[in-house]
C-alpha cells in the first residue's frame, strides 16, 4: 500500500534521511518508531504530500506523492503530531466543514458526518464546542476528520501523545476497529507497549536511517538468530518458599535466576517461547503456584532497544 524507496532529505546542511526504504502492506497496522529526531515526522510528512523527498520516491496506494499528490490525498488521511482544531465551532460543524472541503456532495454530507461521528463515538458531543472538549476527545475528533473521505490509508503521527490512560485505551480500540474496516494504518509513537498490542509490522528509524523494517516477529528472529541473547520473564508465585528458584536453574536454556525487588522471580533465558513454556511447566511440576508469567520487556521494546543506539541526532 505504501512503498518508500531510497528516500533522502536534507534541511539546509543537515541530512535528515539517508536512503530510507520500507513497505507497508495493505490492511496492516504499521508502527513507525525511533528516538526523537530520527526523521519519523519528516518521513510521514513526505508520505502525506506535505514535503517532497530530495531523492527517491514514495508511492501511496500506487500513486507517487510528488507526481500525483491530489490522488494521494484522496486515498490518505493524515493526522499530524500537534495538530490544531478550530475552537469556536461545534463537533458537527467542524466535521461538516471538512466534509465540504473534501467536496463530499451536499446530499451525502450529513449522512457521512453522522456515520463518522457514530464510528468515533462523537455522536453525543455533536453540539459541543471544540474548545470545551478534552484532549482525548479532540484527538478522536482529529481522527474522525481524517475518515470523512473514507481514505484507504491512515497516517497518525503520535496519536496517543499526551492522552490519559483511558483515552489511550479508547484510542487503541478505535484503531483496532479501523483496521477491521480494512484501513492500512501507519502509527508513529514513542509508547512502544501501546504499539506492540496493535502493530504487526514496524520500521525502526534512527538518525535518518532504517535500522529494521518488517513484521515484528521476523525482526525479533533476526535479532536472535541463534537464541544467544538473554531475555527475561518475571514469574509471580502465590508464595515464594525457600529454594523456589532451584528448579528453574536446572533448565538448560535458563541463564540466570534471581529475586526481583518486589519478590518475583526474574528468570533470564535463551531461546524463544518454547523456553518460556518449559519454565511454566517446570514451575507447575515443582508444585509452585504460578500466578502470572510476563515478559520483562515487551517484544517491541526489546527489539527497539536492541537495534537502536540511543544516540542523539
Amino acid at each position: 500500500m505504501i512503498r518508500v524507496e531510497g528516500v533522502q532529505h536534507r534541511f539546509g546542511a543537515m541530512q535528515v534521511l539517508h536512503d530510507v526504504w520500507f513497505t507497508v502492506p495493505k490492511g496492516t497496522v504499521f508502527g513507525f518508531i525511533g528516538p526523537n529526531g530520527a526523521g519519523k515526522t519528516t518521513t510521514l510528512r513526505m508520505m502525506a504530500t506535505l514535503l517532497e523527498p530530495d531523492e527517491g520516491r514514495i508511492l501511496v496506494g500506487g500513486y507517487d506523492v510528488v507526481e500525483r499528490p491530489n490522488d494521494v490525498r484522496r486515498v490518505l488521511g493524515f493526522m499530524p503530531d500537534g495538530f490544531g482544531v478550530y475552537e469556536r465551532v461545534t463537533v458537527a460543524e467542524y466535521l461538516e466543514f471538512f466534509a465540504s472541503a473534501h467536496a463530499i456532495p451536499l446530499d451525502k454530507r450529513k449522512r457521512t458526518v453522522e456515520a463518522v461521528m457514530e464510528l468515533t463515538d462523537l455522536g453525543p458531543l455533536r453540539e459541543r464546542l471544540v474548545s470545551a472538549m478534552s484532549k482525548g476527545m479532540k484527538q478522536r475528533l482529529a481522527i474522525a476528520r481524517t475518515l470523512l473521505h473514507d481514505p484507504e490509508v491512515l497516517i497518525l503521527d503520535e496519536p496517543a501523545n499526551g492522552l490519559d490512560p483511558r483515552a489511550r485505551i479508547e484510542m487503541r480500540d478505535l484503531i483496532e476497529q479501523l483496521q477491521q474496516l480494512g484501513k492500512t494504518i501507519v502509527l508513529s509513537s514513542h509508547i512502544l507497549t501501546e504499539l506492540s498490542d496493535m502493530v504487526s509490522a514496524v520500521c525502526i528509524l534512527e538518525k535518518g536511517r532504517v535500522l529494521a523494517s518488517g513484521p515484528v516477529d521476523r525482526i525479533g528472529q533476526q535479532l536472535r538468530p541463534e537464541q544467544k541473547v538473554a531475555r527475561a520473564v518475571k514469574v509471580r508465585l502465590l508464595s515464594y518458599p525457600e529454594g523456589c528458584d532451584a528448579p528453574f536453574r536446572e533448565l538448560p536454556d535458563v541463564a540466570h535466576v534471581e529475586r526481583g525487588p518486589d519478590g518475583f522471580l526474574r528468570i533470564a533465558y535463551h531461546g524463544g517461547d518454547e523456553t518460556v513454556a518449559a519454565i511454566v511447566a517446570r514451575a507447575v511440576g515443582a508444585g509452585l503456584k504460578v500466578v502470572r508469567v510476563e515478559p520483562e520487556r515487551d517484544d517491541l521494546e526489546q527489539i527497539f532497544l536492541e537495534v537502536t543506539r540511543g544516540e542523539l541526532q
Binding site: F97, E114, L211
Partner: protein, 635 residues
C-alpha cells in the same frame, strides 16, 4: 464503541466535485456556500472580543462625531454646514478605523491557520487554493461590512442639522466598501506569503496605512478641483458623494467617479488575491496563470478607460491630452513586464503532467503557460497590448469625438512613436529580467537589476552626452544627440516635439530606440529559449538516470529490512555471557556507517522473499519490491 456502518464507506465516491453548469453553480452559492466563509463567520461571531469591538468602536465613533460636531455647532456656522462637517467626520473616522483594523485582521487569516496547526489539514482536503483564499477574503470583508452596519446609526446625527441626504450616506458607504476591498485583500495576500502573524500584521499596516493616507489626501485635493469644475460645495475626502448624487449621469462624473474607482479597486483586489493564491499554491503547481488572467483584464480595462478619458477632453486640449494619457498609462504598463520575469526555467511538474493528457487547444495555450519561455512569450503579448492598445484607443477616441480636427496627423504620429518606443523598451525589460531570473535564480534580484538597468539607461545617455559636448542638450528641439535617442524616455521627448512643433517627419526618429531595445530584447529572448532548452534536456537526462537507478535498487532490495546493527546481537550475547568489558570494544570496532541501511542491501539472503507473514495474514510484506509496481498506475 459503535459498530462501523455502511455509510462510512459512502464518501469513497467523493473526491473532485463533478462539473456543474452555471445555474447549478449559482444555486450552490446559496445552498452550499464556501465552507471557509461559513466557518470563519461562525468563528468570528462567536468570539467575545469581536462583540466587544463592535460595541466599543461604535461608541467611540458616536463620541467623536458628537464631540467634533458639538464644537462645530457652537460656532456661527449654518446648520447645513454643521451637518456636512458631521457627515465628513463620521465617514473619515469610519475609514480610519477600517484602515487600521481591516488589514491587520485579514493579515492573520492564513498565518493563524499555520500557527495553530490547521493549515495542513486544510491543504490535505485537496481544496482549491483559490477557494481557500476567496473564503478568507469574503469572510474578512463580510465582518467589516458588518462593522459598518453597526456604525451606520451614528451618521443619523448629521441629518439633524441638514446639508446631507440619504444618497450621500449611501454613496459614502459605497466609498468605504470600495476602500475595504484592497485593505482586506492586502492582508490576505500577506498572510498567504508570510509565516508569522506578527510580521504579517505589521507589514499590512506599514503598507496600507501610508497608502490609504496618500489616497485620502489625493481624494481631498481632487475635491477642490471638483468645487471649481463641477460647483460642488462639500469639503473633505467624501466630497464625491455630493458629486455623484448630483451629477451621476454626466459622462465625466460617471467615468471618473463611477467607473474608474471601480476598475482600479477591482484590479488591485484581483492582483492581491492572485498573489495570495500563488502563495497558497505549492511550487509544483502553476502559479503564474492567475497573474496572466489579471494582466489581460487589467490591460483590456485600461484600453476602455483610455478611450473614455480621451473623449472627455475639449477640442483644444485633445491632441496633447491623448498623448499625455497614453504616455502615462504606457509607462505604468512597462512595469508589468517585470511581473512576468519571475518564472523558473521549466514549467511546474504537475502542470506538465496534466498537460500531457489535455486537448490540442490546451496544448496550444501551453505555449503561453507557466515556465520562463512561455511566460516570456505571454509577457511579450501583454507588453504589445499594453502599449499599442491604449495608443489605438486614444487615437480612435479623438477621431470619434472630433472627426474634423486639424491636428490628428501629429497626434497620431506621436501616439505611434510612444507605442512603438514603449513596446521595444518593455520587451527589453521583460526578456532581460527573464534571463536574469534564470541565471540568478532569484525573482527579486532579477527585477531589481532589470529596473535599475532601465533607470540607468534613462539617465546615463544624458550625462554622457553632456560630458562629450556640454552644449549638446541645448538644441534638443532641432537636433537630439544619438546617445540621448537611446534612452528609454526618448520616445516621449520625440512625441512631445511632434505635437508641439507639428513635425510629423520626426516619427522616424523613434526607429533608433526601437531598433536598439528591440535588438537587445531579441538577443535576450534567444538566450532565454536556448537556456530553457538546455535545462529541459539536462533534467530529462537526470530523471531517466534516477529512475533507472531506483528501479535497479528496487529490484535488488526486499521489502523486509533485517536489523542493521548485527553487532547488537553480539553485544547482547556478550552481556548474557558476562563479558561486559568487550561491549565498548565491539561498538567502537564497527565502521561509522555500519548501521546504515545500505549495509543491509547485500544481506538479502537473510530475508525470505515470497514467504507469507503469518502475523499479518498478508504476503505483501515479504514480496520482493520489484513485483509490486504491477498494481501501480504509471506515474
Amino acid at each position: 464503541m459503535s459498530a462501523p456502518t455502511e455509510a462510512v464507506t459512502e464518501p469513497t465516491a467523493a473526491g473532485t466535485p463533478p462539473r456543474r453548469g452555471l445555474g447549478a453553480r449559482l444555486r450552490a452559492l446559496t445552498e452550499d456556500p464556501n465552507p471557509i466563509l461559513v466557518k470563519e463567520l461562525r468563528t468570528i461571531l462567536r468570539t467575545p472580543l469581536f462583540v466587544r469591538f463592535l460595541y466599543l468602536s461604535t461608541g467611540l465613533v458616536a463620541l467623536l462625531v458628537v464631540g467634533i460636531g458639538g464644537g462645530a455647532a457652537s460656532g456661527s456656522q449654518p446648520p447645513a454646514e454643521v451637518g456636512q462637517v458631521l457627515f465628513q467626520v463620521f465617514f473619515s473616522i469610519a475609514l480610519a478605523i477600517l484602515c487600521l483594523v481591516a488589514p491587520a485582521h485579514a493579515a492573520t487569516s492564513l498565518t493563524n491557520e499555520r500557527e495553530i496547526g490547521t493549515y495542513e489539514s486544510l491543504v490535505l482536503t485537496g481544496m482549491d487554493p483559490a477557494r481557500i483564499v476567496w473564503g478568507k477574503f469574503l469572510a474578512s470583508y463580510a465582518v467589516f461590512a458588518l462593522v459598518l452596519v453597526a456604525f451606520s446609526p451614528v451618521v443619523g446625527i448629521a441629518f439633524l442639522f441638514g446639508g446631507t441626504s440619504p444618497w450621500h450616506v449611501l454613496l459614502g458607504f459605497y466609498g468605504l466598501l470600495l476602500a475595504l476591498g484592497p485593505a482586506v485583500a492586502l492582508g490576505v495576500a500577506l498572510s498567504a506569503r508570510l509565516r508569522s502573524t506578527r510580521v504579517s500584521i505589521l507589514l499590512a499596516l506599514l503598507v496600507f496605512v501610508p497608502f490609504a493616507g496618500f489616497g485620502t489626501g489625493m481624494l481631498t485635493a481632487f475635491g477642490e478641483l471638483s468645487q471649481r469644475e463641477w460647483g460642488t460645495s462639500m469639503e473633505g475626502p467624501f466630497w464625491f458623494t455630493e458629486a455623484l448624487a448630483t451629477r451621476f449621469f454626466e459622462p465625466d462624473t460617471f467615468l471618473l467617479l463611477g467607473v474608474l474607482p471601480l476598475y482600479l479597486t477591482a484590479m488591485v483586489v484581483w492582483f492581491l488575491l492572485a498573489s495570495a493564491i500563488a502563495g497558497v499554491r505549492p511550487a509544483a503547481e502553476d502559479r503564474s496563470t492567475p497573474f496572466k488572467l489579471w494582466a489581460l483584464a487589467a490591460v483590456s480595462g485600461l484600453v476602455v478607460i483610455v478611450f473614455g478619458v480621451v473623449t472627455l477632453f475639449d477640442r483644444h486640449d485633445v491632441p496633447e491630452g491623448s498623448v499625455g494619457v497614453v504616455a502615462f498609462t504606457g509607462f505604468a504598463m512597462i512595469q508589468l513586464a517585470t511581473l512576468f520575469a519571475n518564472e523558473p526555467p521549466l514549467p511546474p511538474r504537475l502542470w506538465e503532467l496534466r498537460q500531457e493528457s489535455r486537448g490540442r487547444l490546451a496544448k496550444l495555450a501551453g505555449l503561453f503557460g507557466p515556465g520562463a519561455a512561455p511566460t516570456a512569450r505571454f509577457g511579450a503579448l501583454i507588453v504589445l497590448l499594453a502599449t499599442f492598445g491604449p495608443a489605438l484607443a486614444g487615437g480612435l477616441a479623438r477621431h470619434y469625438v472630433f472627426p474634423t480636427h486639424d491636428e490628428h496627423a501629429q497626434a497620431d504620429a506621436a501616439l505611434l512613436v510612444i507605442a512603438a518606443g514603449y513596446a521595444a523598451v518593455g520587451l527589453f525589460t521583460l526578456m532581460f529580467g527573464t534571463w536574469l531570473r534564470i541565471v540568478l535564480r532569484s525573482g527579486v534580484a532579477s527585477r531589481v537589476i532589470a529596473l535599475s538597468t532601465l533607470a540607468g539607461l534613462a539617465i546615463l545617455p544624458f550625462l554622457a552626452a553632456v560630458l562629450i559636448d556640454p552644449s549638446s542638450l541645448q538644441d534638443m528641439d532641432d537636433h537630439m544627440p544619438l546617445l540621448v535617442r537611446l534612452t528609454p524616455i526618448s520616445p516621449i521627448i520625440t512625441a512631445v516635439l511632434i505635437v508641439d512643433d507639428n513635425e510629423v517627419f520626426r516619427t522616424l526618429e523613434v526607429l533608433v530606440p526601437v531598433a536598439f531595445y528591440g535588438m537587445l530584447a531579441l538577443f535576450f529572448w534567444t538566450l532565454v529559449e536556448a537556456r530553457v532548452r538546455n535545462v529541459r534536456k539536462l533534467v530529462a537526462e537526470q530523471r531517466v538516470l534516477r529512475e533507472k537507478r531506483a528501479e535497479e535498487a528496487a529490484a535488488m532490495r526486499p521489502s523486509f529490512t533485517p536489523p542493521a546493527n548485527q553487532e547488537a546481537v553480539a553485544t547482547l550475547a556478550a552481556i548474557a555471557s558476562g563479558e561486559h568489558g568487550e561491549v565498548s570494544e565491539l561498538r567502537s570496532s564497527q565502521p561509522p556507517d555500519a548501521s546504515s541501511n545500505g549495509t543491509t542491501t547485500g544481506e538479502s539472503s537473510t530475508s525470505e522473499p515470497g514467504t507469507s507473514d503469518s502475523s499479518t495474514g498478508s504476503t505483501d510484506t515479504t514480496e520482493p519490491a520489484s513485483d509490486a509496481p504491477k498494481e501501480e498506475p504509471s506515474s
